[in-house]
Symmetry: C2
Subunit: 85 residues, 2 copies
């Protein structure tokens, strides 16, 4: 089994109002040195296969078809061997 | 300047209905080998300092005070040198 860890981020050219709101919250806590806050999604999933290439292919397709909006978002992921617990 | 990349995830013991919904979506696309989908948050932020220890301290405090709910969530982060663009 493989575990994929996926990060989906807004493209740099897209405004991130949620990040701006968090940035204001951070400043109001007194952390004036923090800026450029941007919020993305993090997704973990398991792929039931012994073939890492297949796990990577499935992860990429799921990102392209479902998890990321290709107009506004970029994604990256890692795929690692994962023992069932 | 340092850039922090933060991942906030639900604790394993907490049900993740959003992840379950995404899992159903993935299955309905035909990817039956995918399971245990869990959704978290990804946050990028810059810290305006030349001191990595300070950048790490500020990032940790912001996570504890604002970004993560300590009852339900765990967080992890990396802090890396970042050139302004």
């Amino acid at each position: 089994m493989f575990q994929s860890k996926i990060v989906v981020t807004l493209r740099k050219s897209i405004l991130d109002p949620q990040g701006k709101a968090v940035e204001q919250g951070v400043h109001s806590l007194g952390y004036e040195k923090v800026n450029d806050v941007r919020i993305g999604k993090f997704i973990e999933l398991n792929v039931q296969t012994d073939n890492k290439v297949e796990a990577e292919r499935i992860t990429k397709e799921v990102c392209e078809k479902l998890l990321a909006n290709p107009i506004m978002e970029d994604f990256s992921f890692t795929v690692e061997n994962h023992k069932a617990t």
